[in-house]
Symmetry: D2
Subunit: 138 residues, 4 copies
């Protein structure tokens, strides 16, 4: 959480929570390929390990704000796992918890697809990608 | 749209689209009461016209990214209307269109509730609030 | 100004003011070439009219926050003009005013240069670019 | 660095670098008092340890972008120290380095003052505040 993620209500802003979900997704499954330079290997190499010119696009977000997330100068806890895996897309689920009280603050899911940048066509998940996701499916 | 709403893919970022939905909601139904100074009356006085100490909180967002929204230096078109109105909450629906091609880019809805800042209790919609929303229910 | 540009102090955040300066610069001198689709012609075609593969980079910002900028649901007034023009760079100056009281809130300048994306080399301003900037030099 | 801090040029955006400076300042000298809940003690208790109703306001920023900062999924290195300390204000200096190459990317300073929220009056630094800053003055 950044101090600047708070809005005039003095809580972490609902939009910035979507940014935090993005960061959690990237921490777990790697940064999108393309811009940027190497850092460390993510826990699961997924987004960083697609063919050149493939983009990971968000098809939808469903976000439920269960409890106001209060800013603290320590990281929020975000649990991330995989839901339904289809032919050419899959769901990522998130649970955001207050890092001190452990209370649920946000429950969310995103439906993602890999798309070819040049043609705009959706790319089927490869057997290897499915295998990497498998241990995290709940 | 701001140029800075684009991400490294060169499209309007999915998180920034949630910021645009917030702006569209505020343009239609007024800025949240509290911080800030007077500007112009919104089309419908709702968020700006709650009792002192009442916050408008987002309970959930559902956002479907139908088509990549491309940055242009002209405003995107966002249609906003009201869906279900319950005792103490209501839905706002949004349709974001490319301002040149008129193509649908984002379909979304937010469930909102009014909450008392001091007690955290949800506030029932008043008859007057319902009356103001009525013409925009579809 | 967006409502979300406020921080927990209930004022427009100093970082978001830098975003507003970017938007003012783009409104006056056009959006950077590259990503994005056509909209309207800017007042002065500068950033949008560089050779392919040329980036406009900020070399420095100097920003003086004279008075807190309060959020209003009407645009802030930003005056933009050109300062020193050198061989391969130039200054943009900004004055941000409260749109109701007319009070000065922010005085700033940015030093910008055009850089070739492939080689990283700074590009000299062309005679035509100088001519376009000339009427706005103060 | 967040992936979303990149702009359409594929670099960390100059505005988001100002956000990173804010985060570095807060990591070193504590989060502003007011909104938010307790986390950990900062290295130096300054912003978090002011009297109730006192705001830390940025008076100016000077930011020099020496080299493009590339996104990596590891933290950038930000060195933070104190410059001039005056009666009622002080300077924070920053040096942002690429975490892999160690190259200087951004050199910046911010002039800050403590202001009473109710009266708008600048507050003199207390002897204790000066003492806490002293070891970090260069």
């Amino acid at each position: 959480m950044r101090w600047g993620d708070m809005d005039a209500y003095g809580h972490i802003n609902n939009v910035q929570i979507v940014r935090m979900l993005e960061e959690a997704r990237i921490a777990a499954f790697g940064p999108p390929r393309g811009a940027g330079q190497p850092g460390v290997d993510p826990q699961v190499s997924l987004f960083n390990d697609v063919p050149d010119g493939t983009m990971a696009l968000v098809v939808d977000h469903r976000i439920r704000y269960v409890r106001t997330l209060e800013y603290r100068n320590i990281p929020a806890v975000v649990q991330v796992w995989i839901g339904a895996v289809k032919g050419a897309s899959f769901d990522i689920h998130y649970l955001v918890l207050d890092p001190v009280t452990g209370e649920d603050c946000v429950k969310a899911s995103s439906h993602l697809a890999f798309v070819d940048e040049a043609t705009g066509r959706v790319q089927r998940l490869t057997p290897e990608q499915r295998q990497r996701l498998a241990p995290y499916v709940h």
